[in-house]
Assembly symmetry: C2
Homo-oligomer: 165 residues x 2
């Protein structure tokens, strides 16, 4: 794990590529391929991928894992000044966690028409009624982010697995 | 911790009293006093209280802690057939986690006008667009649940602490 590695050149797209790499790590153990990267002051503070099935943890989404690990490393639940990059639009739980952790900026790749809570079904991070607002950037490398998900669910259907997130 | 203890007689109110006791445990280490109890098939599967400040975990809300511990004990992220009792209306993160864990029924005490996501600002558990619906019962022992919160924030104000959840 490239802890506190300098952020690669190329801005949001380079960081989203790191998140895609994390998504592939989830797929290796049979979890829905979603990945996240948490950045502070030009450094990667934490990475996370979906471990819901691996660990039997309902809160084991990529974003939650990156936020928890980042908070551990930062020594505080307040992640002011941080940006979170995630391959799939966060669900209500993860969008709420982004606000709870006081993240400055959220960048996501693929939209989630079924559970997206950052512009699709809800827009929790930018809700002016909550006590913190996180700016949201949408659709960065959307196709590259969606591709492992399409392949994962396609294979499960072909194998008779069925499913959904 | 009374793991797998039989549920006391008296229905929702008795279980909410257990959740209030958990809330007081949070207060003992200076965290906002919120408590939760997870029940399955007439047994207490897990309890949790707020550990956000104690552990520096942005996801350390009472509900999240009870859900994670319950899933560990059940050996699965799917908590079908479970009911969650919590002293304060869940925020978006926790309301989303209730849905993600496939909880059957959520019972809360005090309403949260600032961040409540189970009827106040949002109604995430009962949103028909999501892939699971959790029934919500509101306002059980609301005053008893709100009292430790009022006292906690009152003392912080008196001591010049300020704050908010």
């Amino acid at each position: 794990m490239n802890t506190l590695a300098p952020v690669p050149d190329g801005g949001d797209e380079s960081l989203m590529k790191l998140a895609v790499r994390e998504a592939l790590a989830a797929q290796e153990h049979g979890d829905v391929p979603v990945g996240a990267v948490l950045v502070r002051e030009g450094r990667v503070l934490a990475r996370g991928h979906n471990t819901r099935d691996l660990l039997g943890d309902p809160s084991g989404h990529a974003e939650m894992n990156a936020l928890r690990l980042g908070a551990q490393r930062a020594g505080s639940w307040r992640l002011d000044g941080c940006e979170l990059f995630v391959t799939l639009e966060p669900c209500p739980m993860c969008a709420g966690a982004v606000v709870a952790a006081r993240i400055d900026r959220l960048v996501f790749g693929a939209f989630d028409p079924k559970a997206g809570a950052c512009g699709t079904l809800y827009n929790i991070p930018e809700d002016p009624r909550l006590n913190h607002r996180t700016r949201v950037v949408r659709g960065v490398l959307a196709e590259e982010c969606a591709e492992p998900l399409a392949r994962f669910f396609g294979e499960r259907r072909d194998g008779g697995g069925g499913g959904g997130i």
